[in-house]
């Protein structure tokens, strides 16, 4: 049964960040503007602001990740929060403790915020509905469903280089089926008014009725990249590179790997993005990844500012 958007307060402020779907346009813009103020913090001698002083932020990673966990940790520390990293995969869950029991125990340690990554779609929603008022939940990736801070940092990056979303064409390429990054990106782009969002990949990696999310589907990457301003490449998990979804990484690269020839179909000033970690020679040619159109490293830098913005906003700052 549909109830009120669980990530917003009654007066439409950010309470949790669970997905980019259903976030009002104004709120996304506010997150991006808040991130603007935090970008420069990283360049200072003392890389800290005191907004979250005394707050306890729990990094709850039920699925392994070094990169995302680290960027959240850095973001929280730059806001002066106390950060506790928990790699649950190796502790409670393996002892049979239920997800909500783990949450209750940590909440009893006076947690103020949970950053959650979990292999099940909807895990963050479940936690957000369970925790008591005053504890914020930020989804750091749930199954195939959402990775909203990645979606938002992608928006920040696009806005940084392209200024506006109103005349943009954006292509998202690769394993759309299993990608939470793609889903979060699509919702954010359509909300911000991007008129042309394309997904490109073989039919085995395009989810059913994805057009209903407001995108067009292309199987031919050459045609799909025609005239685009932004190319977002997705990571292909190694276990999916050969099997019923794809014959081989080699053939995937041939059809859907980004190389100079395919990129030439995009606008000359098109930017190339990737959420990382990259598989060079599978999704993307090294020359492109390191080339002048690549904004993959700035994405990482902006990611910290965007995560700081979200953490500040869910704690009422």
């Amino acid at each position: 049964m549909l109830t009120a958007n669980p990530q917003l307060t009654a007066d439409k402020k950010l309470k949790h960040l669970l997905t980019t779907e259903g976030l009002p346009k104004k709120l996304i813009e506010q997150i991006l503007e808040t991130a603007d103020q935090f970008v420069s913090v990283g360049d200072r001698e003392v890389k800290k602001v005191p907004l979250l002083r005394g707050k306890s932020v729990f990094n709850l990673f039920f699925e392994n990740s070094t990169r995302t966990r680290t960027t959240f940790e850095i973001a929280a520390k730059r806001l002066s929060a106390d950060v506790i990293n928990l790699n649950i995969g190796a502790s409670s869950a393996s002892k049979g403790e239920s997800l909500l029991d783990t949450i209750d125990n940590l909440a009893a340690m006076n947690a103020d915020m949970f950053i959650v990554r979990h292999s099940q779609s909807g895990a963050s929603h479940l936690i957000a509905q369970h925790v008591k008022a005053g504890i914020a939940v930020i989804n750091a990736g749930d199954g195939r469903h959402a990775h909203p801070t990645q979606g938002l940092l992608d928006m920040y990056t696009i806005r940084h280089y392209k200024k506006s979303f109103h005349n943009l064409s954006v292509a998202i390429v690769g394993d759309i089926l299993h990608s939470r990054v793609a889903r979060s990106g699509i919702h954010a782009l359509t909300t911000l008014g991007c008129p042309d969002v394309r997904v490109i990949g073989p039919a085995t990696l395009i989810p059913s009725e994805v057009e209903r999310m407001g995108v067009s589907v292309h199987h031919d990457m050459h045609r799909g990249l025609e005239g685009v301003d932004v190319v977002i490449m997705l990571r292909l998990q190694s276990e999916r590179m050969s099997g019923p979804l794809l014959p081989s990484a080699h053939e995937f690269f041939k059809n859907y790997g980004l190389n100079a020839e395919k990129l030439a179909r995009a606008k000359p000033d098109a930017i190339v993005m990737h959420p990382g970690p990259m598989n060079r020679g599978v999704e993307i040619e090294s020359g492109i990844a390191d080339g002048c159109q690549s904004v993959i490293l700035p994405q990482v830098t902006f990611g910290i500012a965007v995560r700081m913005a979200v953490m500040a906003m869910v704690t009422g700052n």
């Binding site: 049964m1 549909l2 109830t3 239920s98 479940l126 749930d142 195939r144 469903h145 889903r183 059913s208």
Partner: protein, 438 residues
């Protein structure tokens, strides 16, 4: 003991009886229907002669209520043996009669599975001792429901099994399915199958479509159902087996059933009540109460299922009663157990469906009384002179709130928790004995 149920509206869908009349019961059996005892209206059923000197020991005043045959449910999990932490025979039989259900078919997906006669006899004995609803077990089609070796069907049949079912464990090896159908056909047993192709459904969680894509839930395509139905009906033609398809979920599945039936195959099928009311849209923000097996599908599918119930392509509506403990649903959607407790809501939800679809009340009641009885060949679901008096009396106007407190079932897992439904059972009789309220 003589009972008169009077002043109610007597609806017996099997005989098209729908009138303000009394129901007369003596020594556990129906002895008459009609106006005043002795005032025969000329029909055989009114049984004027026998009622001339009828003096009831007990009168049930059914003013403003509907008096219909006790409900027959084609799928109610009682959770014994093996899953007593989810529910017990006692709790679920109390739930059944509280919902007006007097006969229920239980699937073999217990632990251990109902694959040997001793288990079936024990279940039947415990059910008889409880002295509430009648229990008709389905035996496991294959040992341990593993889809490898056939269960002893004749032994199980003699122990009281009314058919053989694979429950939610599809047979992967088509040759095993072929042999199972051949063997069952030898003895005229009905094989029950939930049409789901094992590989297409393998890791799926929700209907493959817009909602599963948006929520990032692995999809179960409609083809998982249609491929299975096509396989089953093809093998039916070759083996002559009688098959009941349990829990149809899609428009395309309905179409295949319609074709098979019009070709004269001995095929029947049912649908779970929730699939007539809900769709995958209702999952909302990952509400695990809406996880079902088969999955809730699209609005188009739901509407096709409704039409198929009305035109008779789908023979019966069942509760697909699946009680769980709370923990089974307080986990991420993909880890949640499927199904809902539904014995007590079957009638109210069927009335809600009938109201939504403007289906006449007698037709709706037929789908939960005489039509399911016909599927299992039971002498139940209708008022027959001289036959056991299994009766459901309900107030079609009264509202009740579905809540943990108001449910007798040990399972409180239902999408309707906290909601108000119309139509409440006030009395249930089995063998002419009042079993609800107890």
């Amino acid at each position: 003991m003589k009972i008169e149920i009077k002043n109610g509206r007597l609806i017996d869908p099997a005989t098209n009886r729908n009138e303000n009349a009394s129901l007369y019961i003596a020594d556990g059996v129906v002895v008459g229907m009609g106006g005043e005892p002795g005032m025969s209206d000329g029909s055989e059923a009114s049984n004027g002669e026998a009622l001339r000197n009828f003096t009831p020991d007990k009168v049930i005043d059914a003013s403003g209520k509907i008096v219909c045959p006790g409900l027959v449910d084609l799928c109610a999990r009682l959770r014994e043996p093996g899953f007593e932490y989810r529910a017990t025979l006692e709790s679920e039989m109390r739930a059944a009669v509280a919902g007006g259900v007097t006969s229920l078919v239980c699937p073999p997906d217990t632990d251990p599975a109902l694959d040997e006669p001793g288990l079936v006899e024990m279940l039947k004995r415990r059910a008889t001792m409880a002295n509430l609803a009648r229990v008709y077990p389905l035996g496991a089609l294959t040992l341990g429901l593993k889809g490898e070796k056939l269960a002893e069907m004749t032994e199980l049949h003699e122990a009281g099994c009314v058919g053989f079912f694979q429950a939610d464990h599809p047979i992967r090896d088509t040759m095993v399915l072929y042999r199972a159908l051949q063997y069952a056909a030898t003895f005229g047993y009905t094989v029950w199958l939930r049409p789901q192709e094992a590989y297409l459904a393998a890791d799926g969680i929700a209907h493959d479509g817009e909602v599963s894509t948006r929520l990032g839930l692995a999809g179960i395509p409609v083809s998982a159902e249609t491929v299975a139905i096509a396989t089953i009906t093809t093998l039916m033609r070759e083996t002559g087996a009688k098959v009941h398809l349990a829990r149809i979920s899609s428009a395309a599945g309905v179409e295949l059933v319609r074709l098979a039936k019009s070709a004269g195959l001995p095929l029947s099928c049912d649908v779970g009540i929730h699939h007539l009311l809900l769709t995958d849209r209702d999952i909302g923000y990952f509400d695990s109460q809406y996880r079902f097996t088969p999955p809730l599908r699209s609005p188009t599918d739901r509407d096709a299922l409704s039409r198929a119930v009305i035109d008779g392509t789908i023979d019966a509506i069942c509760s697909d009663h699946t009680p769980h403990d709370d923990d089974a649903k307080h986990v991420p959607f993909g880890e949640a157990q499927a199904g809902a407790t539904a014995l007590e809501t079957l009638l109210s939800l069927t009335l809600k469906w009938a109201d939504n679809q403007q289906v006449p009340l007698p037709l709706a009641l037929k789908k939960i009384t005489s039509d399911p009885a016909r599927v299992v060949d039971l002498k139940a679901g209708q008022f027959l002179l001289g036959a056991a008096a299994d009766v459901c009396i309900f107030n079609p106007q009264s509202f009740w709130v579905i809540a943990a407190k108001t449910l007798m079932s040990q399972g409180k897992n239902t999408p309707y928790l906290g909601r108000e439904l119309q139509g409440k059972v006030t009395h249930t009789l089995v063998n002419g004995q009042l079993v609800f309220p107890s």
